[in-house]
């Protein structure tokens, strides 16, 4: 079998944010909802802000609190994702991947890595990226746009499936 090559794969900070944002929302979204609800309940019971009899005013205040919490929490999560990217020099490198029958070979200016297929737990589709899961919060980002001809995305998918990697 011819090895499949992906050359100069580069994940930018914007890519990393796009990839992680939905994941963070799915995992942490309920915390935001919980915190906002707790704050509104607290304010309601202490009726400082809610003292007015006007329903319009009460709805307005509630919406304002939801908006402020959304902006604050959203800003915090985005900052955390960016910090994670900036704090990982390995991820910022241009990398070349060589996928063979034995496993994955990754080469960049900072690392050379050989992983047998058995070390991969699955593959996740994140936007256009194929994320090979190799551990907790660890993995390799494959960009099908970087596939070297004649290999195509179909070949890449076939190879991943051939090695028993489930799409998770």
């Amino acid at each position: 079998m011819e090895p499949i090559l992906l050359t100069n794969v580069h994940i930018t900070q914007a890519d990393y944010l796009d990839i992680n944002w939905p994941i963070v929302m799915r995992k942490r979204g309920w915390i935001s909802i919980l915190l906002t609800s707790a704050l509104i309940t607290y304010l309601f019971r202490n009726d400082g802000l809610y003292a007015s009899e006007s329903w319009l005013y009460r709805i307005g205040i509630t919406l304002a609190i939801v908006a402020i919490m959304t902006v604050l929490l959203g800003f915090g999560y985005r900052r955390a994702i960016k910090k994670q990217y900036n704090g990982t020099p390995l991820m910022q490198q241009l990398a070349t991947y060589r996928l063979t029958a034995a496993g994955i070979e990754k080469t960049s200016a900072m690392q050379h890595l050989e992983l047998p297929w058995a070390s991969c737990q699955g593959v996740r589709r994140l936007g256009r990226w194929y994320f090979l899961v190799t551990g907790p919060q660890r993995g390799e980002f494959l960009d099908p746009a970087c596939l070297e001809a004649p290999a195509t995305e179909v070949d890449l998918r076939a190879l991943l499936q051939q090695h028993g990697l489930a799409f998770i």
């Binding site: 994670q84 704090g87 990982t88 020099p89 390995l90 991820m91 200016a109 900072m110 690392q111 050379h112 890595l113 050989e114 992983l115 047998p116 058995a118 070390s119 737990q121 190799t134 551990g135 907790p136 919060q137 660890r138």
Partner: protein, 171 residues
Amino acid sequence: MMVVSIPEVQVNFRRYLALSLRYTFRRKPLTTILLVPWLLSVWLAGTLFTGPVTVLDFLQKEPLGTLFILFFLLLPLLTVWGTRRQYQASSLLQHAADYILSATGVGIRGPVVNADLAWPAFTRADRFGSWLLLQTSEQSAFFLDLEQVAAPANSADALAMIQASGVSIHS
């Protein structure tokens, strides 16, 4: 060229848990504040089981307070469970690996990974006793046991090599 090798390093779960907790408290000292509501919950739970007010009374009077106590009592269990899942999800942690430190970087040879990383890939190192957490990000690290450095080199050589590479060691 001088090479320091640390063969057959593997961290067991108990050590992994202890090192993870110590790392968290070192990097995020604010998490120690969580000990206050935890101790408070333990104390409150203790008084509920021994004192004149029964658990059911308290549940009726303070449903939110009961939830608060329950959450903090369970927090250590949740932490251990989360760390356990992390440990089991990492194939690198499950198997022993040989680490080879040189002037250019670190080589990792094991059944599930074969890697060479240049020194600039490492962001920082943290020492806890004989263990060194060599980090490539705040979320991922290699666990090295400096007591296992192969002769003729010793742990001081390993530390000197890491320091010379520009990676800061915190202890």
